[in-house]
C-alpha cells in the first residue's frame, strides 16, 4: 500500500497512457467503416463549431454591410468595365459553343461516356483542424443538407478536397495537400496519369509518373476521373518543379490552383451524372440528322420473324451485301458520290442503330434510311477515323444478338435510300470498305 501511495502519480500516468495507446491501436486496427470514436468527435465538434459559425456569421454580416452599403467607391467604373467584358465574352461564347457542338457530335460518334457535375452546394468554411499535420477544414453543411462522405469539394479556381466525415450540420473536408489524400490526375498536354498527394510539409506532388517521361514545368494538372470521386477535367494545379525521384518515378511538385490556405467558400459536388455525349439537337443540324429524325421508327423485333431472302430484306443485326452497314458505299452500288443502300432496322435486342455522318448530304427521292449505331455499326464521320468494327459494319453486339435469336428471319419492308448525294467528295473515299481477310487467314 505504501508503494502504491508513493508512486500513485506515476501509476496513474502509466494507466492513462496505456489506455490511450490501447485506444489508438484499436482505431488503427479497425477499418473506417466502424468508427469507435465518433461520439467523442461529435462532442468536440458540438462544442467548438457553434462558436465558429457564430463568428463567421458575424464577420460575414459586418463585411456585407460595409461592402454593400458604404464602401461603393469605383462601382460605376467597374460596372462599365464589366459590361464591356460581357460583350467581349458573348462574342467568344458564340465561337466556343460552335466548337463545343462539334466536340459533342464527335464524342457521340465515339460513344463516349462523360461525367457532368449536375448539382453543387455552396458551403462556408468555418474552421480548420488547427494542426499542421492534419490539413482539413470544417464547412457549415452536413448530413441534414444531404452531404455524404467522398463528395468532391471544389472552388471556382480548382479542386479543394473531398468530404471525409459528415456530422449533423457540419462536415470535415480533407484537403488535397494532406498526406493521406489522393486525387487521380492527368497532365493536360502530355496526358500522363498519376496521383496527386500531399506531403508532411504541406506540399503537393504528382506521384507515379515514370522517370523516363518528360514533364515540362507549367503544365496543367487535371483530374482524371479515375478515383471515382472527382469528375474528369477539373483543374488541380500547375506543375512547378520536376526533379528525378529516388525510385523509378519523377518527383513532380504541383502548386494547387485553389488557395488552400485562404478558403472561405467552397462548392460541394452533390451529384454527378454520367451519360453519353449527344449532339445538341437545338443547334445547327446536318441534313442527314434531320432526315433520320423524320424516318418512321422500326417496330420492335417480332418473335416469329421471317428470314431475309429477297434483296432489300435483312436479318436484324446483320448486313446484306451492298448495304450501308458495310461501309455505306458498296461496290457497284452506284456511281461515286451516290449511295444506294438498304439498311437493317434497329435491332430491338441490342438497340443497334446506324448513323450516317456525311458532310453536306442532300437526299432526293425516297426517304433516307439512316439509323444510329452507338456501338460500332455507325459509319464514321469524315472527322473521325473509322474503327475496325465500324468499317466491317457489323457491331459485335448486333452479331451476338443475331446469334442469340438463332437467325430467325424477319421480313421488314426495305427502307431504301434511292440516291443520297454527297457533294464534296465521294463517300467511297471517305470511308474505305475494309478488305476482308480470306477465311481462315486470321492474323492471330
Amino acid at each position: 500500500m505504501d508503494v502504491l501511495g508513493r508512486y500513485r502519480n506515476l501509476i496513474v500516468l502509466v494507466g492513462v497512457l496505456f489506455a490511450q495507446v490501447l485506444g489508438l491501436a484499436v482505431q488503427v486496427k479497425r477499418t473506417t467503416d466502424s468508427e469507435p470514436t465518433r461520439l467523442i468527435r461529435i462532442w468536440a465538434i458540438g462544442a467548438v463549431t457553434p462558436l465558429e459559425k457564430a463568428l463567421v456569421w458575424t464577420q460575414t454580416s459586418c463585411g456585407n454591410i460595409w461592402h454593400n452599403y458604404f464602401y461603393l467607391r469605383g462601382v460605376r467604373a467597374e460596372n462599365r468595365s464589366l459590361k464591356a467584358q460581357i460583350e467581349r465574352m458573348s462574342l467568344e461564347q458564340v465561337r466556343m459553343s460552335q466548337d463545343a457542338d462539334q466536340a459533342r457530335r464527335l464524342q457521340a460518334l465515339l460513344a463516349f461516356k462523360e461525367q457532368f457535375i449536375s448539382e453543387t452546394m455552396a458551403a462556408q468554411v468555418i474552421g480548420s483542424s488547427g494542426s499542421e499535420l492534419s490539413r482539413s477544414v470544417y464547412i457549415d453543411k452536413g448530413e441534414k443538407d444531404g452531404l455524404k462522405p467522398d463528395m468532391a469539394v471544389i472552388t471556382a479556381d480548382g479542386v479543394v478536397g473531398k468530404v471525409l466525415r459528415v456530422y449533423r450540420s457540419t462536415s470535415l473536408v480533407l484537403l488535397i495537400d494532406d498526406q493521406t489524400s489522393g486525387v487521380g490526375a492527368i497532365l493536360d498536354k502530355t496526358r500522363l496519369q498519376g496521383i496527386v498527394r500531399g506531403t508532411p510539409s504541406g506540399e503537393v506532388v504528382l506521384e507515379k509518373v515514370m522517370s523516363d517521361e518528360t514533364v515540362p514545368a507549367g503544365e496543367l494538372v487535371l483530374t482524371s476521373g479515375g478515383d471515382g470521386i472527382f469528375p474528369k477535367g477539373l483543374l488541380v494545379g500547375r506543375v512547378t518543379k520536376v526533379t528525378p525521384g529516388s525510385e523509378l518515378f519523377l518527383n513532380i511538385r504541383v502548386r494547387p490552383a485553389a488557395d488552400l490556405s485562404k478558403l472561405e467558400e467552397v462548392l460541394v459536388v452533390t451529384k454527378i451524372d454520367e451519360r453519353r455525349a449527344e449532339p445538341d439537337q437545338t443547334g445547327a443540324a446536318r441534313a442527314v440528322d434531320i432526315l433520320a429524325g423524320r424516318l418512321p421508327s422500326v417496330p420492335s423485333k417480332p418473335e416469329n420473324a421471317v428470314k431475309a431472302s429477297v434483296p432489300g430484306t435483312v436479318v436484324p443485326g446483320t448486313t446484306a451485301p451492298g448495304t450501308a452497314a458495310r461501309g455505306a458505299a458498296a461496290p457497284g452500288a452506284g456511281k461515286p458520290g451516290t449511295v444506294t443502300t438498304t439498311v437493317a432496322p434497329a435491332n430491338s435486342a441490342s438497340d443497334v442503330k446506324l448513323k450516317v455522318a456525311l458532310p453536306q448530304v442532300s437526299a432526293s427521292g425516297g426517304a433516307s434510311a439512316v439509323r444510329k449505331a452507338p456501338n460500332a455499326a455507325s459509319l464514321p464521320s469524315p472527322a473521325s477515323s473509322p474503327s475496325p468494327g465500324a468499317a466491317s459494319g457489323t457491331s459485335p453486339a448486333a452479331a451476338s444478338a443475331t446469334k442469340a435469336t438463332g437467325d430467325v428471319p424477319i421480313k421488314v419492308p426495305p427502307l431504301k435510300v434511292s440516291s443520297v448525294k454527297v457533294t464534296p467528295k465521294p463517300v467511297t473515299e471517305a470511308i474505305e470498305p475494309k478488305a476482308q481477310p480470306p477465311a481462315g487467314d486470321s492474323p492471330h
Binding site: 490511450q20 462558436l51 474552421g127 494542426s131
Partner: protein, 172 residues
C-alpha cells in the same frame, strides 16, 4: 528571478475556478481551429499546449496535470482526421512533466516560463512524432531547426498566455 530549487512547501499552489477550467481550454482549442483560416502562419502555434503547461505549472499537481493534458489533447484530436490519442498522449506526458517540474522549480518569472515552454514544446513534438510514425504509420518529417524555432515562437506566445492565466488563477 532565476529558476530556483525549492521544496514542495515553499512553492505556491494555485487553483482555477470551474468556468475557467472549462472555458479556457475550450477557447484555446477554438482559437487554434479558427485562427489558421485567417492567419495561415498560426498553425506553428499550439495554444492548447500552452494552456496545458500553464495549468500544470500553476496547480503543481501531477495528477491534475496529466488529466488536464489528456482531456485537452483528446479534444484537439477530435477535430483532426487522425486517430484520437496522438495529441492526447503527447499532452498527457507534457501535463505530467510540467506539473512535476512545477513542484521542484519556481516558474513564476518570464525567463523560466520561456525556457520551460521551449523544452516542453520539443518534448511534445518528439512524443507526437514517435507515436504518429511508430503506431499510426503517418509519414512524418523531423527538422530540428523547424521544431526549435516553433518552440521559440510558442514560448513568446506562452509568456502572454501565462500572464492571462495569472489573472484568473486563485491562491489555495
Amino acid at each position: 528571478m532565476a529558476i530556483t530549487y525549492t521544496s514542495g512547501e515553499q512553492v505556491e499552489v494555485y487553483r482555477f475556478s470551474i468556468p475557467a477550467t472549462v472555458l479556457i481550454p475550450l477557447a484555446a482549442v477554438f482559437l487554434q481551429a479558427w485562427l489558421p483560416l485567417r492567419f495561415p502562419f498560426f498553425t506553428i502555434f499550439d495554444l492548447p499546449l500552452l494552456v496545458v503547461i500553464g495549468f500544470a505549472t500553476a496547480r503543481r499537481s501531477p495528477l491534475a496535470g496529466l488529466l488536464t493534458g489528456s482531456l485537452i489533447g483528446i479534444l484537439q484530436d477530435a477535430l483532426t482526421h487522425h486517430p484520437i490519442g496522438l495529441y492526447g498522449i503527447s499532452k498527457t506526458v507534457v501535463g505530467f512533466g510540467a506539473s512535476s517540474l512545477g513542484i521542484k522549480l519556481d516558474v513564476e518569472n518570464a525567463g523560466a516560463r520561456f525556457l520551460l515552454t521551449i523544452f516542453f514544446y520539443v518534448v511534445h513534438e518528439i512524443v507526437y512524432f514517435m507515436i504518429a510514425r511508430g503506431l499510426v504509420g503517418l509519414r512524418m518529417a523531423w527538422s530540428w531547426p523547424h521544431e526549435f524555432l516553433s518552440g521559440v515562437a510558442n514560448a513568446v506566445l506562452g509568456i502572454l498566455v501565462f500572464m492571462l492565466l495569472d489573472r484568473v488563477k486563485q491562491r489555495t
